[in-house]
Symmetry: C2
Subunit: 164 residues, 2 copies
DNA sequence: TTGCATGCAAATCCTTTGCATTCCT
DNA sequence: AGGAATGCAAAGGATTTGCATGCAA
């Protein structure tokens, strides 16, 4: 996977939750507000795009903490629903700050050539998930949906870096 | 991930392509028809459910070949579009025999507790993908969509084995 | 003070690869 | 024969974990 180059303007509005609000969530969950945690949340706030653990670790700069700490914290934050994990099929987890409740729920359109990511506002028809859940007797049904294709800049290129 | 227990009846009709037809596809692609390949295709034909490399390897039984060979072949078959890869978010690739053309395209409903998998016939509204592609100037757009929930048998249990 | 978090290093797990050998075509 | 496929072992890369130490509450 290449390094992230330039990011396109987002199609969905940014949720620029203030850092204090984020740390408050930690406090309410009886989690300690440590330097690595604040730094990681800052990074996620700055780049509202799916980032890998390694990318987050790199972006920490002089606030650097151990990579294992990044992994541990993203797991924790995921458990708290403060971040959402995305899977682009290349075997690497990516995270984004999650909006409160369902508000943050969204999907992506990923260029399989340059890995450019577009955030989408579209989602499944509301009743589809519910119908599927009922028909098969499942509860607490959610879904993961991502789109893959070739962006206009990459049209003509023939190699693929994502989804090997 | 637990071992696969009992599988529910499929919601979509099985594509029981005869083995000869599958090996013919290999022949047409100038691929050699080896014992491991036939055995792997046989396994996939028998279990039309997403299987991991390891599960396939196990299911080979006395037709056993090296695990690396399983990996290599599934990659090859994926490239030929003879199998489809699915990703349930637990960091392990799963494969299924693919129907010809788009005919095999489908999604899953996965129980996050027991990993039971239901094959779905539902798919995205046809025009949604096209609209998204056009709006963002992407071509060759495809999607990955999977549903996750808790099946009726597992209601009441509170541990989760999938999507840690 | 007290246990949650962190750093560091080692361990796991999935997947890929190098190389000599085997075997389809 | 000749190149593709396989077996075996080792390497890679992502992620997790054990343990002693540090630090927020």
């Amino acid at each position: 996977m290449k390094t992230c180059c330039d990011h396109p303007p987002h199609s969905r509005r940014l949720i620029q939750t203030p850092l204090v609000e984020l740390t408050d969530q930690l406090r309410r969950s009886a989690r300690k507000i440590t330097a690595p945690r604040q730094a990681i949340l800052e990074v996620l706030r700055r780049h509202q795009h799916p980032l890998t653990n390694k990318e987050i670790h790199l972006a920490l700069g002089k606030e650097e903490c151990d990579l294992a700490t990044v992994y541990r914290n993203l797991r924790t934050l995921e458990g708290m629903r403060m971040v959402a994990r995305f899977d682009f099929g290349d075997g690497v987890a990516r995270y984004e700050l999650a909006g409160a409740g369902d508000e943050g729920h969204h999907h992506h359109l990923v260029c399989t050539h340059c890995t450019r990511v577009v955030e989408l506002t579209e989602c499944l028809p509301r009743q589809m998930e519910q119908e599927i859940a009922e028909r098969h007797g499942f509860s607490q049904v959610t879904h993961r949906l991502e789109f893959f294709g070739v962006c206009n800049r990459c049209r003509g290129s023939h190699t693929t870096s994502l989804v090997k």
